[in-house]
Symmetry: C2
Subunit: 240 residues, 2 copies
């Protein structure tokens, strides 16, 4: 978001939970954005965002419950469809890291058209599996707590109004992983893929690694490398 | 090499210095290759390799002084030429991590044809700048020692017979960086590029970051992520 704003020379205020990694806050500021922090446990992001937008005459862009955001994230689905076709893969689960469900929804919509044999499966941290439970019960579920996982980027309270119907229609059952499994996936990505993942960006890979009964070919989306060095070093020390 | 052999279902023996990172040895074995270790300081790689090849009826593939290896590595130059053209870059130095000079030679040959305004500059660890000194003096130079840098992948004793003439004709002056600068480049790649680099694969980025008097647009090739977790954690602890 901050990067896009910088590219368009537009002013940008980013509302971010105060437990976001320092590196994420610093990188967002480096793109020229103003970062406003809020307490995930006691403050409501929607209220603060709407208030700032109204006060300053800014346009509020929601991180997932916005058709254009979902469409933009859907380009990942186009890439998956193209790469899967190149690899001769027509049927596979596609694990996607899931907070509010914007990325998963965009990918699911793209795959519906371009690779209908590929099925999105959301991946969430244990205890923050509001999407998995909402999909399983057919009723919108909320998480019991707002904090308590290292997967800070995807700790959202409940599925989006736009995303839940899309995923109800198109996604398979949601998967959950433990924080330790996310750290193991980070270590594996370091050793074998040479990429840097943050915990919340590694849950899809973790779901692909640690779920049982999966077919031989599984697709996982790796998203986000905003991880503080100490957390990354912990993943390496424990699991690499 | 091991990966290529595995793809072709061909037996493969890899001769590797005994100070190679454990992760590199393990990954090479995981591809099904046999790894033979030698002591960089006291043993001659060429002699051992030729002996094994003769004994077992294998074909010896040199890591850089082989026309087909140079040509294969030259595909990196084709990618650079295409990406630079997309970005509207016609003139820039292209820093390349340099051991024996195979990758640098291949890139230089590709750029000569496809992007003649881009000029290869070799990057080496301080104390192991045989290529830089050979280019500067017009005479083949050797390194005074065989070990003593963390950049294990590119500690070769002297430029190749094929590579030196190519780089003499096509490359700019060679650059050198300290081990600490390589670690800083690894930390920067972690924070900003989200990729895992080994020290020897980060020297080109380090040369681009820490050389003075460079133009605004500089290209650096990041090569290799065979780094043990402890070394990577050190780079993060000190510089990220």
């Amino acid at each position: 978001m901050a990067f896009a704003a910088a590219r368009h020379n537009a002013p940008c205020v980013i509302l971010m939970p105060s437990d976001a990694p320092e590196v994420k806050i610093a990188n967002t500021r480096a793109y020229g954005a103003e970062v406003v922090l809020y307490d995930r446990a006691t403050q409501n992001r929607e209220t603060i965002g709407s208030a700032i937008a109204a006060e300053r005459g800014l346009t509020l862009i929601r991180p997932y419950d916005d058709p254009q955001v979902i469409a933009g994230q859907g380009t990942v689905g186009l890439e998956i469809a193209a790469q899967a076709a190149d690899a001769g893969v027509t049927h596979a689960p596609v694990f996607v890291c899931c907070g509010g469900g914007g990325l998963a929804s965009g990918i699911a919509l793209a795959l519906e058209v371009h690779a209908p044999g590929l099925t999105v499966r959301t991946a969430e941290p244990q205890g923050f599996d509001d999407m998995a439970r909402s999909l399983a019960t057919g009723q919108r579920q909320k998480n019991p707590t707002a904090t308590g996982s290292i997967c800070d980027a995807i700790l959202t309270p409940t599925p989006g109004d736009l995303t839940l119907p899309i995923l109800t229609r198109l996604a398979g059952p949601g998967a959950t992983v433990t924080d330790d499994q996310a750290l193991q996936a980070m270590a594996l990505a370091f050793t074998h893929l040479r990429i840097v993942l943050e915990p919340g960006g590694a849950v899809a890979l973790a779901a692909a690694l640690f779920n049982e009964g999966l077919p031989d070919t599984v697709i996982a989306v790796a998203t986000g490398g905003n991880v503080d060095p100490a957390t990354f070093a912990t993943a390496l020390a424990r699991f690499a």
